[in-house]
């Protein structure tokens, strides 16, 4: 049991930092910290880790705190998504379904999340994302539009493949 748990823990632990960096990279020339924030996991109980908690520490770029409780709403969301994607990297499922995970994100962070999804979705990992934010859903391959048909008292769908409308340079 320890072996199984540790195998997963080690894998996730080793991936969390690079994923968090990918989600927080600023491409900023002025800042040597343009590479993003940092994140890591610690075990509360080293001998029987599956019986105790796992603490997650995330430090946004250019900040100095690691206490998750003091992070802002948007910072917590980005940190939580990084952890979600890190956990997923161990025995990855073929798809993700995310419902309005961008609610607390400002425009810059929505862009970072959008780029992450665009760069990491492929034939082995399909992203299905519910979002109210134009800048995110504009970048998807396809849109499923949901609307309410009042007469029928029912939800209806309409699908649009965006790949047939390439963005002009």
């Amino acid at each position: 049991r320890y072996a199984l748990f540790n195998q997963a823990f080690e894998h996730i632990s080793s991936h969390i930092d690079s994923i968090y960096k990918e989600l927080t990279r600023t491409n900023s020339v002025i800042s040597p910290l343009g590479g993003g924030g940092s994140a890591y996991l610690t075990l509360e109980d080293e001998d029987e880790p599956y019986l105790a908690g796992i603490k997650y520490h995330a430090m946004p770029p250019m900040k100095r705190f690691r206490d998750m409780e003091l992070l802002s709403g948007g910072e917590k969301t980005i940190a939580a998504l990084a952890l979600l994607f890190a956990i997923h990297s161990f025995h990855p499922s073929p798809f993700f379904v995310l419902d309005e995970v961008d609610a607390a994100l400002d425009n810059a962070n929505v862009n970072k999340l959008t780029n992450y999804i665009v760069n990491n979705s492929n034939e082995h990992l399909q992203f299905i994302v519910i979002s109210l934010k134009n800048s995110l859903f504009e970048k998807s391959d396809a849109l499923i539009g949901i609307f309410r048909d009042q007469e029928e008292n029912s939800s209806k769908t309409v699908t649009l493949d965006l790949r047939s409308y390439p963005v002009e340079a």
């Binding site: 161990f90 025995h91 798809f95 419902d99 309005e100 396809a142 499923i144 939800s155």
Partner: protein, 176 residues
Amino acid sequence: GRLVGLELHNFKSYKGTTSIGFGTTFFTSIIGPNGSGKSNMMDAISFVLGIKTSNLRSHNLKDLIYRGVRNRQDSEQQGDDDDDDHDDGNKKASRAYVMCIYEKSDGEILKLKREITSNGNSEYRINDRIVSAAEYSDILKNENILNKTKNCLVFQGDVQKISAPLELTKIIEVVS
């Protein structure tokens, strides 16, 4: 593998039969106004993957069946339904299902269907063959879809909960 398509029948706010296809897309967005049915679509995906109903904003399976017009709860509601009244005895749909078409990485197509029967239970089918909940779960586990731990589903309002120390439990699930 990948999700190729989905078929809903009388599920939550989707009356009748609704089909959506994911084609060959890698990144699909579901959009629409508040209350239109987007989260209900995610509930359909979660439902067909065998997730427990307590996660679906409903207390029992029967709540997931499309309800169209006034029913016992709304009996005090008067007004504009008079025309329907005569047909309405049966207006609540009696059965509902969600089916998903899943293509495994070796090309094999799986049709996974979960139905709510008239006595409020789940009935599972894989390629039209009735199976137990356990077998259904196992087939999904082989594809790394774990319905015990929502490892690939993030419900509305839930994203920040992952970082609580009880995410420890998730990791154990993933391994075992």
